[in-house]
Subunit: 439 residues, 2 copies
């Protein structure tokens, strides 16, 4: 049996688990790979820093350049753009296959790196970069390679899913649920990247590029976080058989010129409680895929954490090793396309709108008229009168709550409808606007 | 660009969709495979039989032997053991890679076929044979190849899931839900294979062999169907926050001699309503995987149907084509192990037991005593007095309902406990015994 040299770059939360498994499960990994996987070294900035896992001291080096020179497989878990990018390119030049968990680098530079790997006939795998332990890259790249994916809806940020799940199940306010997430280590001291949807946006672009064999610029993601979600929103959703999840939605749609375009958006979304994504609790992640022939598929699991992410990394390592053992060139990525980014005039969605209006005759008709004017049709409309104040009913200043769910329309026309409703004199305020999926 | 000749054996529900996609989506499939996929012919018993899909008449032949001789990739969708097995072996001998959806053949003869394919350096893929459109073979064989799977829980039979879902959501009785399934084409006129769990058992053995790299004999599956499930069982489950699903459970556990063994069982199972498998509605399938490092994963989708299953077949076809384009030998299966089959003394589960007992002082103590004698501990016990009949309370013949959920114990000790409880003079009857998972 041959031996393949494995170089590990980075030894944090995930890297230390990868090293542990390479050492502890060497026999199993060898029988599955068809080759012994020898951990040749671990490159870190500071070889003396304390580690979560007890690993042999002599494996550590601060000379990553030299380490990758001799490696057959390079595992890059440093994060960040540089020196990760240069080391990956160096590894590919030396003929090594590369396994990376570097979401930021792949979202920024993926296509250029795939091209280099493909030209060199080596593998570049990155299962761990999207949704942690969930096998999503291989199912999309291989199992669905004979199908056409139409849409991907992902719960790809565990922190925000934990917060929304807590608000839903315990009635906690946003701030308290966030504090609980911070205490449990799910959320960072500065939670901006999570709660504003920026992390989900980066993962959404990776999902879009995988699913639609194209590139998608991160700055073209329409992104809205969950900081505006109140307990009242959660309760209103509950009342109507829905719940709120932060989704990254990547979608392919026809363009007006007869071609195809792609959109990626991140926003809090109402989902029916019977939807498979509604059963994703706590800090778990899930990716829901709609394909032309396969129909609806969902992939569920842990989106983060040292051991789960290490599992994804090692699956890639074994795949790369098997390929080396069996011979043949590395698999070519087919992300060559550059489909146009769709604008608001092409994105179809449906809105839930909560309106505080005067309780007067003709109010419903006036509001319905605004919808009709914008070509938006109404699926459900519910009116609840606020009857606490009998005096206000008598003097005509009583208010009513209207909850409306629209049919699918363009983002553009729906947004314009909401603006026009706000301008009606019989409307006190539009208290909530949320997008709806799965109906 | 090279051309690869594809031979299709069988043109039923799935085969006709595979042929349609090969013809309609030829350009996309070529760009993903790196080779043109030419449908060289379709072997059927009767070339003049009517088809669901309109396909060119000159593709059909009744001479499968000659068709496979020239093929690079053979798609076997005939079903049954012969002549499917002989034709697959003939194809492998000719150097073709094989894609099969033949669950029965693979459950019976898989290991021998993998061995032949591996010796010939060709591929044998069978994603469509397990859980239809759901990518499960590739995630288990590749994405989790660096991890260790402990347990697989599968909703792998759409018919029974539809029936149980109907009973749960509409309150229908078993017979009515079965009739509805038959009307919709989900259940056959003779539904035995589905409702008795035999179909799920065959899929359970395939899942076990995939997950644990071993063989598992179909006749060693402990199998119990859903014909005994009553509306009362469904309601009792609802009362306690559970629902009932038919699960195929494949599990690896230590044996007494320090080795490892595998069990596969199929039975109706209580699951908490918050469990991801509880959100699998209608005729959908899902496979829940527990791995040592990845933790909990779930794969969800359509388990049957022409187009969804064709999607899985074509994913395999593209993978096989890519391998031929890139060169190298076919991937070796690692199902070489023959782990022992575990008996009832090693299978751990927890029971839900519904007991109709006399409403007398000391009843609870007597029942609790039986559990303790068998080393089974109780997690939850609930007592409901039947108060309708005041006379019976007065004369001491009143009865009470006891609902008990146990901690995990061996199947052997739990079954013995139930028998001993039935023998108690204060027990009128044990009205329901169901296994519980996910608690």
């Amino acid at each position: 049996m041959n031996t393949l040299k494995v170089a590990l770059l980075g030894c944090g939360n995930v890297g230390s688990q990868v090293a542990r498994i390479l050492l502890d499960d060497a026999a199993d990994l060898a029988s599955r790979s068809g080759a012994r996987l020898e951990l040749a070294g671990i490159a870190v900035r500071n070889v003396d820093a304390p580690r979560d896992v007890d690993l042999p001291r002599d494996l550590f080096t601060d000379d990553a350049e030299t380490l990758v020179k001799d490696a057959d497989i390079v595992i890059e878990l440093m994060g960040g753009l540089e020196p990760a990018r240069s080391l990956i390119l160096r590894s590919i030049e030396h003929g090594a296959s590369v396994v990376s968990g570097n979401k930021a680098l792949l979202a920024a530079d993926g296509p250029a790196l795939y091209e280099k790997a493909s030209a060199a006939g080596v593998e570049l795998y990155y299962e761990a970069a999207v949704a942690g332990a969930i096998p999503i890259l291989r199912p999309i790249r291989e199992s669905l390679s004979g199908d056409r994916i139409k849409r991907v809806l992902g719960i790809v940020n565990g922190t925000t899913n934990y917060i929304l799940d807590q608000m839903d199940t315990t009635g906690a306010a946003f701030e308290d649920a966030l504090k609980a997430a911070q205490t449990l280590g799910y959320a960072e001291a500065d939670p901006t990247a999570d709660v504003e949807g920026l992390d989900a946006a980066a993962k959404g672009t990776l999902l879009a590029s995988l699913a639609f064999h194209t590139t998608f610029p991160l700055d073209a993601v329409k992104c809205e976080g969950i900081t505006g979600i109140t307990s009242a929103d959660i309760d209103a959703a509950k009342d109507t058989g829905f719940l709120i999840k932060l989704l990254a939605i990547a979608e392919k749609q026809p363009t007006k010129d007869g071609g195809e375009g792609v959109s990626v958006r991140v926003h809090p979304t109402l989902l029916p409680r019977t939807h498979p994504l509604a059963a994703v609790h706590g800090a778990f992640n899930a990716v829901f895929v709609e394909a032309e022939n396969a129909g609806e598929l969902m992939f569920y699991g842990q989106g983060a954490g040292g051991r789960p992410t290490a599992s994804a990394v090692l699956g890639d390592v074994v795949s790369a090793a098997r390929r080396m053992v069996s011979g043949g060139r590395g698999r070519t990525e087919t992300t060559g396309k550059h489909l146009p980014v769709l604008g608001e005039e092409s994105i179809l969605t449906s809105y839930y709108i909560d309106i505080d209006a005067a309780d007067q005759p003709g109010v419903l008709a006036k509001i319905a008229h605004v919808f009709a004017d914008h070509g938006v049709s109404i699926e459900v409309m519910r009116q609840t009168m606020h009857t606490e104040d009998l005096v206000s009913i008598a003097d005509g200043t009583a208010s009513a709550e209207l909850r409306i769910i629209t049919h699918r329309g363009t983002e553009e026309s729906l947004a314009a409808t909401v603006e026009a409703i706000k301008d009606l004199d019989i409307v006190n305020s539009v208290t909530s606007v949320l997008r709806v999926e799965g109906v």
